[in-house]
Amino acid sequence: MKYLCLIYDEEQKMAGMSKSDGDAFMAEYGAFTASVKSSGHYLGGEALQPVQTATTIRSRNGKVSTTDGPFAETKEQLGGFYLIEAKDLNDAIQVASRIPSVKTGSIEVRPIMVFNRPA
């Protein structure tokens, strides 16, 4: 099954890190990414620009509105994701619990919906 691991973290805390802590954190991410690539779990993953760069777009009655910022203000912000292939939820939890941000923020694990394609 495919799962999306959404990484939520406090951007302010991240931004306030010292250079050496920040480097160590990035190194942890590098090691994690390498390990899920070699275990065959990795399908993709990216880090996102901070939430100030976010734009939310809606279209109602044919009128498009564009607003600054994320859809919802929360203490933790979506900061990145991994798309993984896992045997089942237990396997996905195993992988997600090794994402470095699990110690500072939280990881939401969502199964990817599979649509029955017409034959």
Binding site: M1, Y3, A86, K87, D88, L89, N90, D91, A92, I93, Q94, P111, N116, A119
Partner: protein
């Protein structure tokens, strides 16, 4: 077959197999068919076939294996019929049939594993606690949705909906039908033990309503606890079963004939169940000799010290406080601290306990917990601080939802009024 009596006998035998083995059959069918609903349907078809065939052909040598294999093939047949409308079912039926050819009839060895798989799946931490309880009682214990609803004072449709949603999450989120890997076992076992303990407590302390105890739920939890240590004798599983048995041993003594609550110190200890105490205490001993001490084992050890005192005055309070000291480290919850404070009050006097309780209440965590206020009231009463005692009993009274407890607190308040009038004369 000519004899109606013989037919009746086989019918009774089918009933007996259903009572003893239907959960095992279901657990194995879920693994083989990969789906809760399909397995349930297959199991009912298998029992229906048994009612029809066993009186005619005689009981099979291994009824459980017969039911599993019959259920499995009936399900595959049904799938083939439905495949005319849904082509994807054909592929699935194909796969299940191939798997059946491979294993043949040699599924017996994994029967225990299947029951454990079922328990871990129903208690998966990705399900809400309510859903875990409902699903466990339904699938592992075989209670009906009506029985679960009446035990939890909710409607059958609410329970049914919880179960439907939980099954949907198991399917859609890919919650596997497996015993967790060793690395996850401790955390996942915690989730299972928590469900069992919640079921027990609901039956023992009944969080609301008229009746103080709902025996059936506690009995069900103890049965689950026994099953668990038979399948997975982990120290905390043993500790939990011990704890439940030691609590249960006091059931007859903790309420009066007219349903009034009787505190541990005032209970008629001759009414405690000696068999349950012996079994619970032996389990505590066993758990204590294993690697690590967990909260259930420590609580059970405390209950065992109480059980060992022939009269309340003979209670070994220093031993109990020592166990609480370890428990507070293992499980630093405010309620544990509150219970420790009550034990300290017994060892060192009410003032020492009151100081601890006031410190806990000052932190605000237990401000809305009725038992914290009634414990405080009791210590104030023993210290002769009648006004403070009265205020705390009133606070506890405002917070309780339980009828017998409400009456108990009102009695205490009346006694206080009587004593203070008496003191005035």
């Amino acid at each position: 077959m000519g004899s109606g009596e013989a037919v009746e006998q086989v019918r009774a035998a089918v009933d007996a197999v259903y009572r003893a083995d239907s959960r095992r059959v279901l657990a194995t069918l879920i693994r083989l068919l990969g789906d809760f609903d399909r397995a349930e349907e297959a199991m009912h078809e298998a029992f229906a076939a048994a009612v029809e065939q066993w009186p005619r052909d005689g009981m099979p040598a291994n009824p459980r294996a017969w039911l599993v294999s019959t259920g499995r093939f009936k399900s595959i047949t049904t799938m083939r019929k439905r495949a005319r409308f849904d082509a994807s079912l054909n592929e699935l039926a194909e796969r299940l049939e191939a798997a059946a050819r491979e294993t043949g009839g040699h599924d017996e060895d994994s029967v225990d594993d299947d029951r454990l798989r079922l328990i871990f799946t129903c208690c998966h931490p990705a399900l809400t606690p309510d859903a875990r309880i409902a699903l466990t009682l339904r699938e592992v214990c075989g209670l009906t949705t009506e029985e679960i609803a009446s035990a939890f004072f909710t409607s059958p449709s609410t329970v049914a909906q919880r179960i439907v949603r939980a099954k949907a999450k198991i399917r859609d989120a890919g919650i596997p039908y497996q015993v967790p890997a060793l690395a996850d076992l401790a955390e996942r076992l915690d989730s299972v033990l928590h469900v069992v303990y919640l079921v027990f407590n609901e039956g023992y302390f009944a969080s609301s309503g008229e009746s103080l105890t709902r025996h059936d739920l506690s009995g069900e939890a103890i049965r689950l606890g026994r099953l668990l240590i038979e399948l997975l004798p982990e120290p905390e599983a043993i500790g939990l079963l011990a704890l439940m048995l030691l609590h249960e041993s006091r059931r007859a003594a903790r309420t009066s004939a007219d349903g009034e609550l009787i505190l541990l110190a005032d209970q008629d200890r001759s009414r405690w169940n000696g068999d349950q105490i012996a079994e619970g205490s032996a389990l505590v001993e066993r758990a204590l000799t294993m690697r690590r001490l967990g909260p259930y084992t420590l609580q059970a050890a405390i209950a065992a010290v109480h059980a060992g005192a022939a009269v309340a005055a003979a209670t070994d309070w220093p031993q109990i406080v020592a166990l609480y000291d370890i428990l507070v480290r293992a499980d630093p919850a405010p309620i544990v601290e509150l219970n420790r404070a009550a034990a300290v009050a017994m060892r060192d006097g009410p003032l020492a306990g009151l100081t601890l309780i006031d410190a806990i209440l000052a932190r605000g965590e237990l401000a809305d917990y009725g038992h914290a206020h009634s414990a405080r009231a009791d210590l104030c009463r023993r210290l002769g601080r009648t006004d403070e005692a009265r205020a705390s009993y009133r606070r506890a009274l405002a917070l309780t939802r339980q009828e017998p407890e409400r009456r108990f607190l009102e009695r205490r308040l009346q006694e206080l009024a009587f004593h203070s009038r008496g003191a005035g004369h």
